[in-house]
């Protein structure tokens, strides 16, 4: 269980790092805040007292409103959001340059923290890389493209609707909800597509093994190679095989020292499916067309402050933060698959089981997730 201990250690470290950065950032933010002493609004049943935290004229919830660990996470998120608002406003003050850097840093942290929440494709991307023959490098690239696309969707949405057409917040919300529903539907379709492809491979193999059965056990290995050879050239045999061979010329002479075990590994990795840009683009697009609610809020807020560009910059910085969180989670997922494979040692059947579970499980999870979220997104419109 080294993997779990390692993960736990890493998470604790990340949490500590974030906490230190956040407290440092908000501590530095305060002197910049030109509205610090302002009094909260008179709206509501009774006027609120002067803000105790230096937050700009924001309505104050009682600090004890949320208790416990989750409460702490909530309070951190809330204070981050307030700091972001202060950051955007500070750009109008004397310390515009310092404010801009602070805003970028805050947005970045907000992105890192925020991505832990829903709707940033963590589950989808982690499941996808585990289910497919992806490397850590490609996992990172996928996370960054998806986060970038989400940011661009949000910028385009707010830019066109609010900035150009002066649409209302309700209309922006409606559009954002539509995109969300489409995104979930596409995610479900991608999951279904991946799963179907894998099931077809399994079905073919089952058929082949049935066809081979009468030819006797002695000939099994040889036939197996022939029957499957047309698949082999898709593979990147860099990790499981110790040796490399050119498949285009060497189909039929496909004999290894490991014999049967090797074929099984090849079979299972084949189930995971080779790398293809088509698949990656499908995943990235389905995740990326759903704009992040947090980004939309920042953009519209910046717009009302007359600084749309600040919102765009904040959204991009946020996307980098989001991408890092998602990439870390995807890497963790890949790492746990790798550890699972290594623990099996030379056992081909074991590696086979790991690959089969990962690929079928990952695709099924994407399908399940997309379908559930799609169904949920068809529910009644939210008042706020």
């Amino acid at each position: 269980m080294r993997s779990l201990a390692g993960c736990a250690g890493c998470l604790v470290f990340c949490a500590l790092f974030l906490w230190v950065t956040i407290s440092a950032a908000s501590a530095e933010m305060k002197p910049l805040n030109p509205f610090a002493a302002e009094v909260a609004p008179a709206g509501g049943v009774q006027a609120a007292p002067p803000s105790a935290f230096g937050a700009p004229n924001a309505a104050q919830q009682s600090p004890g409103a949320f208790g416990g660990i989750l409460g702490w996470v909530l309070r951190t998120q809330q204070s981050l959001q307030r700091d972001l608002a202060t950051g955007v406003k500070s750009l109008k003050g004397e310390h515009a340059v310092a404010g801009a850097f602070m805003l970028a840093a805050l947005s970045f942290i907000y992105g890192v923290v925020h991505a832990v929440g829903p709707g940033h494709g963590k589950t989808i991307i982690s499941s996808y890389v585990v289910a497919n023959e992806e490397t850590v490098r490609r996992g990172v690239i996928i996370s960054f493209i998806a986060a970038g696309l989400q940011a661009l969707t949000a910028i385009a949405l707010v830019g066109i609707l609010a900035f150009a057409l002066n649409a209302s917040g309700m209309q922006i919300n409606a559009w954002s909800n539509q995109l969300e529903t489409v995104s979930y539907a596409l995610i479900a379709l991608v999951g279904a597509w991946l799963l179907t492809t894998q099931l077809i491979v399994i079905f073919r193999r089952w058929q082949e093994s049935r066809a081979e059965a009468p030819s006797g056990k002695a000939a099994h290995d040889h036939h197996h190679v022939h029957a499957e050879h047309h698949h082999h050239h898709h593979h990147i045999h860099d990790r499981v095989h110790d040796h490399r061979h050119d498949h285009d010329r060497d189909h039929h002479g496909h004999h290894h020292a490991e014999g049967k075990a090797c074929h099984h590994i090849v079979d299972a990795r084949e189930l995971a499916g080779p790398f293809s840009w088509r698949k990656i683009l499908a995943v990235v697009f389905s995740v990326g067309i759903r704009p992040c609610t947090g980004a939309i809020l920042v953009l519209v807020f910046a717009l009302t402050q007359g600084m749309f560009w600040a919102g765009v910059a904040a959204t991009l910085a946020m996307a980098i933060g989001t991408a890092i969180t998602v990439a870390v989670l995807a890497t963790l997922a890949l790492g746990s698959r790798e550890i699972a494979l290594r623990l099996g040692g030379r056992s081909g059947a074991f590696a086979n089981a790991v690959w089969t579970t990962c690929s079928l499980g990952g695709s099924a999870l994407i399908l399940l997730f997309g379908a559930t979220l799609f169904a949920a997104s068809l529910g009644p419109a939210r008042p706020f």
Binding site: P49, N57, I124, L332, R382, F384
Partner: protein, 229 residues
């Protein structure tokens, strides 16, 4: 494969899946709020110390406020008048019904009492913050003498984080409120609750009917004393 190998295989697979599941599944519902609402409520009492309804004033955070009023300054005078905000108030109040007005009135562990559609609703916008005012009448007034009536305010899906205001979060309103109290129940920062919250976050987050937010319920307990009637 030997039985011990098989057992090891299972353990490893469980661990691998657990990591993937933790990374995403856990929070990938709506476990984090995008809207923060500061609650101030008036408990409406009749002369017999029965609760007839609740008048809410919910002040939203500046991000949501900016979002909500975007494009509504029709005459472009820089002021969002009650008139200009009326369509938004209507949309808000009408769609609140599908979410039970985020208000749950109950006695002990009993069923939630039925509420009537909001009355006297309006929005005001002041210094960048939007406040929604509305009255929620109870279908049948509820007695507060022999029993404590709890009013919970929360969003079960936790998209909106409701919290009571620091100052004067709850008031009693009526001609005869003597002997009555409305106290905010402090959320219990018990670790047990956190554990429950986490396990709920893990396992019951997927459905649209998730009740994740209930652990963050903000509760007012209303009670009246006979002696003062």
């Amino acid at each position: 494969m030997s039985p011990s190998e098989l057992a090891k295989c299972r353990r490893v697979l469980t661990a691998a899946l657990a990591v993937v599941a933790c990374s995403g599944l856990a929070q990938d519902a709506r476990a984090h709020p995008h809207v923060w609402a500061t609650v101030r409520s008036e408990i409406l009492l009749d002369d017999n110390h029965q609760i007839t309804g609740i008048r809410h004033a919910w002040t939203f955070d500046e991000f949501y406020s900016a979002m909500a009023v975007q494009g509504l300054d029709k005459n472009g005078d820089g002021v969002y008048s009650a008139e200009e905000l009326k369509p938004l108030a209507e949309v808000n109040v009408n769609s609140l019904k599908d979410f039970d007005y985020f208000t749950f009135v109950h006695i002990g562990d009993g069923d939630n009492l039925r509420l009537k559609p909001p009355e006297n609703y309006s929005l005001d916008y002041d210094k960048g913050l939007l406040t929604l005012h509305f009255t929620l009448p109870l279908e049948k007034p509820v007695d507060t003498h022999k029993q404590t009536v709890d009013v919970d305010v929360y969003d079960p899906s936790f998209f909106v984080a409701f919290g009571f205001a620091t100052e004067a979060p709850v008031k009693l309103a009526g001609n005869n409120v003597k002997g009555c109290t409305a106290e905010i129940k402090k959320p219990d920062p018990d670790s047990e609750e956190d554990a429950k919250a986490l396990s709920e976050a893990f396992f019951s987050q997927l459905g649209p009917n998730s009740n994740f937010g209930s652990q963050f319920a903000q509760t007012v307990a209303v009670k009246c004393n006979d002696a003062h009637l």
